[in-house]
Symmetry: C2
Subunit: 417 residues, 2 copies
């Protein structure tokens, strides 16, 4: 059972929009054991859509298209489907009723007539109603293939996938489980790591696959396998992970966690620690990262973005003299910022960042791409400098924020908090 | 001249990583007049890579692959290229020298031998050195096609594209300009907008294309054309935009700005206004959005993420009584938060957010997906409620943050600040 995704829309091809739908759909399909083997991103043109459907039929069993179903003239997916399946469009009473209710709820019944074509569907199609938009999801089953056509707006796609399509597919096909475990390694370059575990890697059972995934200074080793019995699959992988302990045990910060934020959550919750942030150039990225997961409110109490240097003095209590002597992008200012946050938010842990993300330098002519960050856990403090002149502004903030959390995990493990 | 991108890697297909390279490359190619007509996202398998290269040769003139070039065993692009181009791998002295310097700079010369295979390139290839990683970019020109093979790590890809490949392509092909103008419309649904400008749309010159792009409650109308003379192209589009003024003038918040953050920057800079934020469930997303562009430090002074409700009281001066009576997710708390930020950061404008992003409710049992936000400009204040129960946690924070900035732009325009 293999899936193919087709993303339709010039918005993605022109570089205006990042395609997040494919990522979401692939992750959801994976959970029910259907791997995505290819993603096509194509133009909103009838011929391109038809050609790609043809290619997708050759490689996949489940085909999911997103995009090209809005009420305006630049959306052509429905026509392409009609021609490809040699079908006709008919007004679907149930979909029209669904539309009517949607417009009533939004107090926009005057727009119903205008949106009537949205209720026209392929005569062969089975319909999954879209609770959050006007274009329904249509499904066609032909020659053993199952094809879904979805709208493109992510907040319509996600509930359709999660609440309707995934349950339908899981029910229809008695599916395999895919089991994944991730070992997170730090302090060792990829090439050396690969050498150190070479014999282990070569001896892995054929049904377990391994990937190396570098994220910042961390390398994730991901082991994946699939089959009918989840417990057996888990055990099979854990046996192999056990063998890694003597080889690279010292460098492992997590034996089974993928996201650094999740790894940190486990540690903070277990140790009952609270945390706060004081950010400058990361502009809120660090606090956003910490709060990106559910349950973070039990340990993350708050953060401050002291973007203007006066605010560092006024709110965080950084000394004006330190800024004058050391400049605002310095180890000393990072230290005073984390101390200020620890005091302001009354947390055990406080993190701070100060740097120049560019493209322009600051009032002190600091070199673009320079940053300092400070990690404070009770009385312990560690400051680090990072210099990455080739990063773009937002990538730099993201990279440093990830790095800060990774370093914090290392500190919490090594310093035994 | 058309481009095709090939993204190689199981990380994207499995839904673990969002592909941001394609977006970046497409946007850069567009600037020099090379449209991306298709993106293939494929597995890290030799046969898949070879088959896709074949398809790409049929539709594109410039083909760019990313991924699959690391030093570890799961990277297979180089072998696929070797077989596809019927070529052989040879050690490139210049690339090896580049590697040597890179490892010296990083104090890791002991790893040089291990990484030697990275200096093996196709004998037919021209090499663009990778300043930020070990795998070089290889270029092959064959049958009138130009094919580039790049590594997959975004911070290696971006400089290679921007500093080496784009200048090379712009030099090699005397290229067309692509000119785009974006009109931002609010307060009118897509279907009605489409009706109101129907006659205008139908009368557009054939060489100008139009797209509708909904972002939150804003619809962007994007007009695109291409040709040799940039000034002529600009004028041609501006004539058409002028005709929109009597049709939808009242609903337009920007006649030529794409990103709401950029639109806001223009207004704040022109009016010499400063801004601060007080966030709860958005967790820093709002301040991150404001600081995502260069130059934001002239008007954004700072923000606070008062995640814990005690911090709203202690740092922002929200009244404990208001929280007790109205709960923390209420119009009143939003108002007191923005007032608090205005005072704390001494800014003319202050924005606040409070809500429940889910998946779990808060200590007051507020319904998941409920949020209030407050916009304060000097003495003016506007509070709004938003209820979007079907959004995922991080999408909700993003959506609301975009909405807050959009509303602020509307306020600044309508209230004539």
């Amino acid at each position: 059972m293999k899936a193919v995704l087709i993303t339709i829309g010039d918005e993605i091809l022109s570089g205006n929009t990042v395609d997040t739908n494919s990522n979401f759909i692939a992750a959801e399909l994976k959970k029910i054991g259907i791997p995505v083997v290819q993603i096509f991103t194509i133009s909103d043109e009838i011929s391109a859509i038809k050609n790609t459907l043809k290619s997708a039929f050759e490689i996949g069993d489940v085909i999911i298209t997103t995009g090209g179903l809005g009420p305006t003239k630049d959306d052509k997916t429905k026509i392409a489907f009609k021609e490809f399946f040699n079908d006709e469009l008919v007004l679907d009473a149930e979909t029209f009723e669904h539309l009517r209710k949607l417009f009533e709820k939004r107090n926009r019944t005057h727009l119903l007539e205008l949106n009537k074509p949205q209720a026209e569907v392929l005569s062969k199609a089975e319909i999954f109603q879209n609770e959050h938009g006007t274009a329904p999801c249509q499904m066609i089953q032909e020659n053993g293939k199952t094809v879904f056509s979805l709208p493109g707006v992510p907040f319509e796609v996600k509930p359709l996938i999660k609440e309707k399509i995934i349950p339908f597919l899981a029910e229809k096909f008695g599916l395999n489980h895919i089991v994944t475990h991730t070992v997170s390694v730090v302090g060792i370059p990829e090439s050396l790591l690969s050498e150190q575990i070479e014999s282990w890697e070569l001896a892995l059972p054929k049904e377990i696959s391994l990937s190396y995934l570098p994220v910042g200074n961390r390398i994730k080793l991901r082991l994946t396998t699939h089959g009918k019995n989840q417990q057996e699959l888990d055990e099979k992988i854990l046996i192999e992970i056990e063998k890694l302990k003597p080889l690279i045990g010292e460098n492992v910060i997590s034996w089974d966690g993928d996201d650094i934020v999740e790894i940190l959550k486990e540690i903070l919750t277990e140790k009952n620690l609270t945390i706060s942030t004081a950010e400058s150039f990361t502009g809120g990225e660090l606090s956003k990262l910490l709060t990106s997961i559910s349950g973070s409110s039990t340990y993350f109490l708050g953060g401050i973005v002291a973007y203007d240097y006066q605010k560092k003095i006024e709110i965080l209590g950084v000394s004006a003299k330190t800024i004058q002597i050391k400049t605002v992008v310095s180890a000393e200012v990072a230290q005073e910022m984390s101390a200020g946050a620890q005091k302001l938010f009354k947390t055990q842990i406080a993190l701070s960042t100060t740097g120049v993300a560019g493209p322009n330098s600051d009032e002190f002519n600091t070199e673009v791409g320079t940053a300092f960050y400070s990690i404070r856990v009770n009385d312990f403090e560690k400051t680090s400098r990072i210099y990455l002149p080739h990063f773009e502004r937002n990538d730099f903030a993201k990279f440093v924020s990830q790095r800060v959390l990774q370093d914090l995990v290392e500190v919490l493990i090594k310093e035994k908090y």
